[in-house]
Symmetry: C2
Subunit: 586 residues, 2 copies
C-alpha cells in the first residue's frame, strides 16, 4: 500500500459506493429500479457531469495509473461475483421439469429477437456501426443483445405482483433462465474471435466448442461433484457457511479465468459456476443470502456506477437510435414470448403479460453493452442506446404486467371469483385452526383431508398434484405465508383450505421463515386466469402484519372468515406492493 494511491483509491471507492447506494435508494423511492440510480452515479461523477463542471476534482478523484488499476481490480471481482449471483438464481431442476412449454416459449423468445437484432444491425447506417467491415459481427451482437432477459428484474416484478410461485410466474422464470444461459454463451463466444482480431470460421468453431465443453463440464459432472462436496462441507455445522462462501469465490474466479483463457469473456465462467452452485439443493438459503447481500450492496453498486464513468452520455445520446433500438427490442420480445405463451395455451392477456415480463433487460443488458463497448464492438452511441433500452424495458415490465393481469376486469368470467374473495373461498372450503403437522408434506395432507366434505374423492388426486407441484418449487412466500397449490382434474371452481400453525412449518420461503399461515389451493385445470387472481387474492388477504396476527388468533371458521373479510374490505382495490425485495434488486 502506497500512501497516496491507497488514499485516492479508498476515497474514490467510498464515493462511488456511497453515491450509488444513495441514488439507488432514491430511485427505488420513486418506484424505479435500483440500477437506474446506480447508473446515474456514473453520469454524475464521470465524463458527463463532474468532469465538465469540476475537472480538477474529477482528475484528483479518478486519476489514471495505480488507483485506476486498483479500482479496476475491484470492479473485475464485482462483475464476476455479480454474474455468480445471477447464475445462482437459475434453477436447472425447474428448467428440467417445466419441459416443453417453457422450451418453446424460450426458443421463440430467443429466435425472434435474434432476427430482430440481425435485421436492425443490417438496416442501420454505417455511422452507427463501429467499423463497417464488422457489420456482420455487429448485427449478430445486436441479435444476442436483444435476446437476453433480466432474471432479477423479472423475479422482482413477479414478487411484487404476488405471482412468483404461480404457474405463470414459473413459466416466465424458466424461460428467462434459458434465454440467459443461451444469450451469455452466445455473447461470450462472439467476443472470442473479435479479441483475436480475425473472424475466421475455424477460430469461431474452436471457441464455440471449448465454451460449450466448459459449460457442459461444469453443469453435468461438475454439478454432481459440487453437490457431493457441499454435502460433505455442510456436515460441519457452523463452519459450513464460511467454507461454502470461500468455495464459491474460488471456483467463480477460477471459472472466470478459465473462460477468459478459452477466449470467451470472464463473466461466463462466473455465471456458469453460479448456475452449478444454484443447482445444488444443499446450498443453504442463508449462504445464498450472505453472498447476495454482500455482492449487491458492496460490490455491484461500484460496478454499475463505474459503467457510465468514462462515457460522455450527453455527447453520445442519439434519440432516434435509442427509440429504434427500444422499439425493435420490445416488439421482438413481445412477438416471441407472448406468441409462444399463446401457443402453449395461455389466454391473450396472460400471454402478453409473459411477454412484457420477459422484455425486461435490466442489469444483464448493461453488463453486455459495457463489455461490447470495451471490445470495441459497438461505439458510444450504440452503448448509450442499449443502456437506455435496458432501463426502459425494465421500467415498462411491472406496470404493464400489473395492468394486464389485474386491471379493468371484475370477477373471473369462468368461475365468478372476485379478486379479493379470500374470505368467500375459505368459507366454502375448510379451516384447520391448529395444524399438527411439522413438515410441509404433512401439512398439505392434513389440509387436503379437511377438504373431503367439499370435494369428496378428489382429495387423493388433489394431494398427489399438490405434492408434485411442491416438489417442483416450494410455495413458501415469506412473511409467514405459504400457498401450496395445483390444478386438479375434475374440479370446476377453486377450493381453499386454510390452516394455522403457531409453531410454523418450513415451506422454503425466500426469507427463510417458517409458514404459520398455510392456504391449500386447488384449481380447475388450465384455469390460468383463476390461478393468477386467486393467488393474488389469498396473498393480499394476509398482506399486512396486523391481518396475519389477527388471523393467527382465529379459533373457528367463522372467526377466520371474519378476519379475512374485514381485511379484504379494508384493502379492497389496493394492489400488492413489494414483498421480498432482497431476491431481485437489480
Amino acid at each position: 500500500m502506497h500512501g497516496h494511491d491507497a488514499l485516492v483509491f479508498l476515497l474514490s471507492l467510498a464515493t462511488l459506493l456511497g453515491v450509488a447506494r444513495l441514488l439507488g435508494e432514491l430511485a427505488r423511492a420513486f418506484g424505479l429500479p435500483l440500477v437506474v440510480g446506480e447508473l446515474s452515479t456514473g453520469l454524475l461523477l464521470g465524463a458527463t457531469g463532474l468532469q465538465r463542471l469540476l475537472p480538477d476534482v474529477h482528475a484528483w478523484l479518478f486519476p489514471p495509473g495505480a488507483p485506476a488499476e486498483m479500482l479496476s481490480g475491484y470492479t473485475t471481482v464485482a462483475v464476476v461475483l455479480l454474474l455468480v449471483v445471477a447464475g445462482l438464481e437459475v434453477d436447472l431442476e425447474i428448467v428440467g421439469r417445466r419441459g416443453r412449454s417453457a422450451l418453446l416459449v424460450a426458443a421463440l423468445g430467443v429466435v425472434v429477437p435474434l432476427f430482430g437484432g440481425l435485421a436492425l444491425g443490417h438496416a442501420v447506417p454505417d455511422s452507427v456501426v463501429g467499423a463497417p467491415e464488422q457489420r456482420g459481427l455487429f448485427a449478430v451482437f445486436l441479435g444476442v443483445a436483444l435476446s437476453i432477459s433480466a432474471l432479477p428484474v423479472i423475479a422482482k416484478t413477479l414478487l411484487d405482483l404476488g405471482l412468483f410461485k404461480s404457474d405463470v410466474g414459473l413459466l416466465v422464470m424458466t424461460v428467462a433462465m434459458l434465454d440467459d444461459l443461451v444469450g451469455w454463451i452466445a455473447f461470450s463466444v462472439l467476443l472470442g474471435p473479435l479479441r483475436g482480431g480475425s473472424v475466421e470460421i475455424g477460430v469461431v468453431a474452436r471457441t464455440v466448442l471449448l465454451a460449450a465443453g466448459f459449460a457442459a463440464l461444469c453443469l453435468l459432472p461438475g454439478r454432481r461433484l459440487l453437490d457431493r462436496l457441499l454435502g460433505a462441507l455442510e456436515d460441519h455445522g457452523e463452519l459450513a457457511p464460511g467454507r461454502v462462501l470461500s468455495l464459491v469465490a474460488v471456483l467463480a474466479m477460477l471459472g472466470a479465468a478459465a473462460t477468459q483463457a478459452i477466449g470467451v469473456h470472464a463473466v461466463l465462467g462466473g455465471f456458469i459456476v453460479g448456475v452449478a452452485f444454484g443447482a445444488s439443493p444443499r446450498l443453504r438459503e442463508r449462504t445464498r443470502q450472505t453472498i447476495h447481500q454482500f455482492v449487491t450492496n458492496v460490490f455491484a453498486p461500484v460496478f454499475f456506477a463505474s459503467v457510465a464513468l468514462r462515457v460522455d452520455f450527453l455527447a453520445s445520446f442519439d434519440p432516434a437510435l435509442c427509440l429504434v433500438v427500444f422499439l425493435v427490442a420490445t416488439a421482438a420480445k413481445l412477438v416471441g414470448c407472448a406468441g409462444g405463451a399463446r401457443l402453449v395455451g395461455m389466454p391473450w392477456r396472460e400471454s402478453l403479460a409473459v411477454g412484457f415480463g420477459l422484455n425486461a433487460r435490466g442489469a444483464m443488458e448493461i453488463i453486455l453493452a459495457l463489455l461490447a463497448r470495451e471490445a470495441k464492438l459497438v461505439n458510444d452511441g450504440v452503448f448509450v442506446a442499449l443502456v437506455t433500452m435496458a432501463v426502459g424495458t425494465s421500467l415498462l415490465a411491472g406496470p404493464s404486467m400489473k395492468r394486464l393481469l389485474y386491471g379493468g376486469r371484475g370477477a373471473s368470467a369462468l368461475t365468478g371469483v372476485g379478486a379479493d374473495d379470500a374470505a368467500g373461498l375459505v368459507r366454502d372450503g375448510a379451516f384447520v385452526p391448529s395444524l399438527t403437522a411439522n413438515t410441509s408434506a404433512r401439512a398439505i395432507e392434513e389440509l387436503g383431508r379437511a377438504l373431503r366434505p367439499v370435494i369428496g374423492d378428489l382429495v387423493e388426486p388433489a394431494l398427489i398434484s399438490v405434492l408434485e407441484r411442491e416438489l417442483v418449487a416450494a410455495t413458501g412466500l415469506g412473511d409467514d405465508v405459504a400457498i401450496p397449490h395445483a390444478p386438479v382434474e375434475g374440479l370446476t371452481k377453486p377450493v381453499v383450505a386454510l390452516g394455522l400453525s403457531p409453531g410454523g412449518i418450513d415451506f422454503d420461503a425466500p426469507d427463510g421463515r417458517p409458514a404459520r399461515i398455510v392456504f391449500l389451493l386447488l384449481l380447475p385445470p388450465r384455469a390460468y386466469d383463476d390461478e393468477v387472481r386467486v393467488l393474488a387474492a389469498l396473498s393480499r388477504s394476509v398482506f399486512d402484519e396486523a391481518a396475519r396476527e389477527a388471523l393467527l388468533g382465529a379459533a373457528s371458521l367463522e372467526e377466520a372468515v371474519r378476519c379475512l373479510d374485514e381485511h379484504g374490505r379494508r384493502i379492497a382495490g389496493a394492489t400488492p406492493a413489494a414483498r421480498a425485495p432482497n431476491l431481485g434488486d437489480l
Copy 2:
C-alpha cells in the same frame, strides 16, 4: 478490463484464496489457528517457496504492473474491512460497565509490555534496527507492538473453554479491547511522522491531536448519530441489512481515507468505524454475521496469504532474535496482565490464565508488523520475528489457559463442587420442565422464583443481580443453551435452576438461535474459582446434540437429573471443544 491482466489477476486471486483456505482448514484440523495456514500460503507461493523452486511460474502468476496493482487494491479493501470486523467485536458498553478492575489490568497490560519493548529496542545490536538513527522510534514501535492483544484469538479461546460469558472471560475481553484501542492509536500516530521523514515534536503532537480528535469524534457524537441512523434504517424490514452493509463499507473506507489523510494509517479509520458500529445495539446480529462471514472467508485469507508473499522467510529467519522477541513479549504480558488480575482479587491460577489469554497477539500483530515493514520501520528480520511471536503466543494461549483453569485439580476447595457435577447442582436446585416465559427477563424471574424453597429470601436480591448482569452481556451461549448467572451476597455455595422451553427464548446467542435450555446459576460472591468450574460443568453437560435432545424430553426433576448424570459420566474427563468458531477465526 484488459484481457490478459484480468486473467492473471483473477488466477492469482483464486490461487491465493483457495490455497489459503485449504491450508487454513488443515491448520485448524491440527488444532492450530486458521491464520497459521493462511500465512503459510505466502511462504509456499511467494519468495520463500515458489520463487525458489519454479521462478517462471511465480513470475507469470505474480507479475509486477497492472495485476499487482489490482491485487493490492483488493488487499487494501481486505485489511480495512478486517479491521472493521475487529472493531465490531469491541463492545464499549461492556468496557464502560466493567469499570476500574478492567482498566487497571488493561493499563498494566499495556504499560509493562511497552517498557519491555522499549528496553528490547534499546538493547538489540545496530544490525537489527533498520536505520540506526531511528533507534528511538524503533524502540517505541517494539513497545507498541508488544502491548496489543488479539481480540479474535482471545474470543475464540474463551469460547473453546466455555468461558466466553463468564466473569473471567468478560474481564479478559474488556482488557483486550482497551489494549487494542490504545495500541492501534499509538501505532498509527507512530507512522505519521515517519511518513513525513522527520520526527519533529510539533508534527508528532499535531498527528496525535488529529488522531485522538478523529477517534473522539467517531466514538462520541458519531456513535450516537450512527445509532440513530441505524434505528431509522432498521425500520425498513428486509431492506435494512443491505443498507446497513453498504453504510458500513462506505463509512469504513471514508474513515480509512480520513486517517490516511491525517497522516496515521488507514487501518485505524476502519477500526474506529468498526468500534462505532459495534457499539450500537441496533446493529443486528445477522448483519454482523454477514460482514464477518464475507470478510473472513473471501477477503482476509487473501490478505494474510499476501503478507509473506514478498518476504523470503528462510533468508530473514534469525532464531535468536525470534526467541528473544517471543520471550520478552510473553514475560511482559504475563507480568502486566496476571499481576493486574491478582491485584483486583483473582486467585493466582485464574490470574495467570488471564495473562496467557491476553498474551495471544494473533492476526493484529501480523498486520502491525506488515505495515511497519512497509513503512521501513523494521527490516525483514524483525518482521519475521514479530510474525513468529504472533503465531507462537496465539498457539500458547489455549492450552495454557485450559491447563490452568481445568487441569490437575479435583473438586473446588471452597465449595466441593466437582467439574462435572451439573446433575448434582440441578438435583439440589430446581427444575421447571416447561417455561411459560417468552423473554429472557421473564425466564430468569420464573427460574428465580422456583428457587425459593432452596434460597428463601435471597430470591429477590439474586434476581436483581442476575438481571443486571444480563444487561451487561447477554448469556446465550448458542446451541440452544443460555446460562444467566451472577454472584449473590449471602450465598455460600452455587445454586442452579434448570428450565426448558420447547419454543425457545431469545438470549442473544452468537448463533442467533433461541435458548431452549436455560440454567439460572447463582454464585457466592467473589468465587472466581467456582464460577469457572460450574459454568464449564453446566456448559459441558449439554455439550452434544444428543444430550440436549434427551434433556429436552425430561418431564420431571428425576428425569432431568438422570439425563445430566448419564451424559456427565459419558463425557467425564473430556474437555470442551470448539463451540462457536464463527466468532473468532483469526
